[in-house]
């Protein structure tokens, strides 16, 4: 009895010991690799640096200059964002040179579930140093909690003003815990007011790019008479079905009413049931609800995946001719199709002349959650065109910074897009991304889907969408 119990205890002891050893080994290694200085030092550093930034140049230059000198060699900056796969490869290529020069290791982590995860991470105290938000509305809601670091004193405002169109800076300013803060800076943008068309066949058929809305509608009718449906439209996108329709409404809103009204609408001050919004949807319906104008007829709009919609344009002969979508859609085009040769885009024409040439854009805003000198350096790097140069070259994105030269773009199509953004009379961000989630990513999607599929009348659908504001 004694013997066995002795053996039992020694075994238990060994088990316990080995378990604690494993625990301490793993735990210790991890906390060392995280390399996070304790909070109090953080504050001190930020205090010092604020002084430095304000005095300008006193401490040997901006964080970026210091980083370039190798001050922060061996440090790590974690980054979290929604882009994965091919985009991640492009991103990593674009920061490679910076990492090599400065010795700062930017550890990017991409997740398809970014929108759902970022809140949990921030709440759980595990926020990344820098996060990439494709929806400023989401960042705005986190900024309100006071967990986003105000960039006003961290980045040199003069430099920012010189390098960004003022409307980009305005869109980065949000309500913080106490007053307005600069919640983020824009690193990438994409343009939405584009109509893609199969260039070669378009020219062979003798069509001309329409400059006004009337010309566009006349051409649409002409194509219908010739035997094709002019437009291919698809809004199916799984749980997000309907978002493609919201872009149309936003684009037409900008062309039929003033930018001020658009801003009010986005903020919820102008109701969806107002005549302005209703008129915009009616203009859209002239195309959408005409079965001769839409490939597959109106009923196919809701069931066609947004990425598959442009496919008929690349048949020979094309079965449809126009696809209104942002520049990212080119990643869905067949690999054999060549930009500037097989396909190209034209600007969705203005409807009412008095509103000029408005352009609808979207983009990615970078926000900072942990204030360390090396994070500041990386943030400053992201405000320069250099940080996105190779991505711009490989296509698919437009740099919002002014120091991104037009000759970086490797295709004429991208170059024209960048020019379109720079020359736009009005630049407005995708409204549904700015509205609160329950409207912009909820009732707006659903209401439009119901309307297009015919389960709700226009008035009823608009009421439904508006009801989202009350929740």
């Amino acid at each position: 009895m004694n013997k066995t119990s002795g053996r039992k205890w020694s075994l238990l002891l060994v088990l316990c010991l080995s378990f604690t050893m494993v625990l301490s080994a793993c735990g210790g290694g991890n906390s060392a690799s995280k390399n996070e200085p304790p909070a109090p030092t953080n504050k001190e550093v930020s205090g010092n640096d604020q002084g430095g930034a304000n005095n300008g140049g006193e401490g040997g230059g901006s964080p970026l200059d210091l980083a370039m000198k190798g001050e922060y060699k061996g440090t790590k900056v974690t980054m979290f964002g929604p882009f994965v796969d091919a985009d991640q490869v492009k991103f990593e290529n674009s920061i490679k040179e910076f990492e090599e020069k400065t010795g700062i290791d930017i550890q990017y982590e991409g997740s398809k579930e970014f929108e759902a995860t970022i809140n949990i991470r921030v709440d759980g105290g595990n926020a990344p140093d820098i996060a990439d938000f494709p929806q400023p509305g989401l960042l705005a809601s986190i900024a309100k909690t006071g967990k986003v670091i105000d960039l006003t004193t961290i980045l040199d405002q003069e430099k920012l003003k010189a390098n960004y169109n003022q409307s980009w800076l305005d869109m980065g300013t949000m309500d913080g815990k106490d007053g307005k803060i600069m919640a983020g800076i824009w690193n990438r943008s994409n343009v939405k007011s584009l109509v893609w068309y199969p260039k070669k066949q378009f020219e062979e058929a003798g069509y001309e790019v329409p400059e006004t809305w009337d010309e566009l509608m006349a051409l649409t009718e002409q194509i219908a008479k010739d035997g094709d449906a002019a437009w291919n439209i698809g809004i199916e996108s799984g749980a997000a079905t309907g978002w493609a329709a919201t872009d149309w409404v936003e684009d037409i809103m900008l062309r039929t009413t003033s930018p001020e009204n658009y801003d009010k609408w986005v903020k919820g001050e102008l109701s969806f049931t107002s005549p302005e919004v209703k008129h915009a949807v009616e203009v859209m319906s002239e195309i959408w609800l005409n079965k001769d104008y839409v490939y597959g007829g109106t009923k196919s709009i809701v069931t066609t995946a947004f990425g598959d919609a442009p496919a008929p344009m690349f048949d020979n002969p094309p079965k449809s001719w126009f696809h209104r979508q942002g520049n990212f859609i080119t990643s869905f085009f067949p690999e054999t199709a060549k930009v500037d040769v097989d396909y190209d885009w034209f600007y969705l024409p203005p409807i009412d002349e008095q509103y000029g040439k408005p352009v609808l854009v979207a983009g990615d805003i970078y926000a900072m959650f942990n204030d360390r000198p090396e994070v500041r350096a990386v943030m400053e790097f992201f405000t320069t065109g250099e940080s996105i140069k190779t991505w711009v070259q490989s296509g698919g994105v437009i740099a919002p910074m002014n120091d991104a030269a037009l000759d970086w773009y490797s295709s004429e199509s991208d170059r024209r897009m960048a020019k379109l953004v720079q020359e736009a009379s009005t630049l407005r961000f995708d409204g549904s991304d700015l509205m609160p989630g329950q409207v912009g990513a909820g009732t707006f999607w659903k209401g439009m889907t119901d309307y297009v599929s015919g389960t709700a009348t226009l008035d009823k659908a608009l009421e439904q969408i508006q009801a989202g504001w009350n929740n």
Partner: protein, 364 residues
């Protein structure tokens, strides 16, 4: 005799019904399997059953040219008959042949006849892309293209295995200790403690995510294997304890009593008697826990993240689809590759599986 015949007959009926249900259950998987060998463009156009020999309308080579001035919005006259545009779009059958637009713009109709289609277009590209990584074409400044290869599934596979094996062994081990204690040891608060553990079964793990994440952050366990082992262990324990308790408490009491009289300690009883006797239960709950951990997405998403060094299969597969879902067709083959491991485990341990399930369910 009559009774036996009747029973035999009803058995065939039961088997038929079961076979039918099995078939129904398997059809979606079969469809997915076939789709995983088809090119993406084909998946979009036709259903997976088109890989089997079937009849379809084929172009006969003949076509009818209508007048260029034909108004498509009016009834269209073809060889003495009138059709509507919609009819011609979807195809209309006339005397065994089918008329359909070949080129609506040029106003040509093609005449189609029915024929057999035997050769399906199948490809291994989906598997190739998933296993060895996709190729990304990147444009350089001068317009030339470089091809960069992405990573395949192998790293994620080992990561998942590194997570799944300890996350199965640890809870099963701990819970069999606990189940033995609950079943055969008498200590104060035993019933209350047991009820508390059973009550935990009801709590969804989602409510624990943020509090646990906060603790992990302060302990520095985030993104480490240890952290996720502990998380899976904790989330799995209530069910595993309950299951093991049901099994162990059914073992004959006399066995332990005689062992105890012969001088065996609790630990000896546990390691020499309980463990060998409960192999079926251990195996079946092991399969359950392993499957759960292998397929898990949420817990990994929160506690381990998406860094390539620790990324698990389910997350890697989700990423394969691309930021905007452009490579959705790769999901088909990726699903089958990720299924291989659980299937292997299942067939390896399946003889215990049924026994173990019974052990937990039949009381008394």
């Amino acid at each position: 005799m009559v009774g036996r015949k009747k029973r035999k007959g009803s058995k065939t009926v039961v088997n038929l019904v079961l076979g039918f249900i099995c078939l129904l259950w398997l059809i979606p998987t079969l469809g997915l399997f076939i789709s995983s060998f088809r090119p993406a463009a084909d998946i979009l156009q036709t259903g997976w059953w088109n890989v089997f020999p079937h009849q379809e309308w084929k172009k006969s080579g003949e076509s009818i040219q209508l007048s260029k001035e034909t108004d498509l919005r009016q009834p269209i006259e073809v060889a003495g008959k009138t059709f509507s545009d919609d009819q011609l779009k979807s195809g209309v059958t006339v005397d065994g042949d089918r008329l359909m637009w070949e080129n609506r713009r040029a106003r040509t109709l093609s005449v189609m006849e029915q024929g057999w289609e035997f050769k399906p277009a199948l490809t291994l590209d989906n598997y190739k892309n998933v296993l060895s990584g996709k190729e990304y074409k990147l444009k350089n400044a001068d317009g030339s293209e470089t091809v960069q290869k992405g990573s395949g599934l192998s790293q994620a596979f080992w990561n998942t295995l590194t997570i799944a094996v300890p996350a199965t062994v640890i809870p099963v081990l701990i819970s069999s200790f606990a189940a033995y204690a609950f079943a055969w040891l008498r200590f104060p608060g035993r019933k209350t403690l047991f009820v508390v553990i059973i009550a935990m079964l009801v709590i969804p793990l989602q409510v624990a995510l943020i509090p646990v994440l906060k603790d992990y952050t302060s302990l520095g366990l985030n993104g480490s294997y240890l952290g996720i082992w502990l998380a899976h262990t904790a989330f799995g324990l209530p069910l595993v304890i309950y299951f093991m308790y049901n099994f162990i408490s059914q073992l004959p009491k006399d066995l332990f009593e005689s062992a105890f009289i012969d001088g065996a300690s609790h630990f000896t009883i546990f390691s020499r008697l309980i463990l060998p006797l409960s192999v079926p239960a251990l195996a079946s709950i092991g399969i359950f826990q392993f499957l759960w951990v292998w397929n898990d997405y949420l817990v990994s998403l929160i506690f381990i993240g998406n860094q390539p060094g620790v990324q698990v299969m389910s997350m890697k597969i989700a990423d394969l689809v691309g930021s905007r879902g452009n490579d959705w067709h790769l999901l088909t083959s990726a699903a089958f590759i990720s299924m291989l491991m659980p299937l292997a485990i299942f067939f390896l341990l399946q003889k215990y599986f049924v026994r173990g399930l019974m052990g937990g369910s039949v009381k008394g």
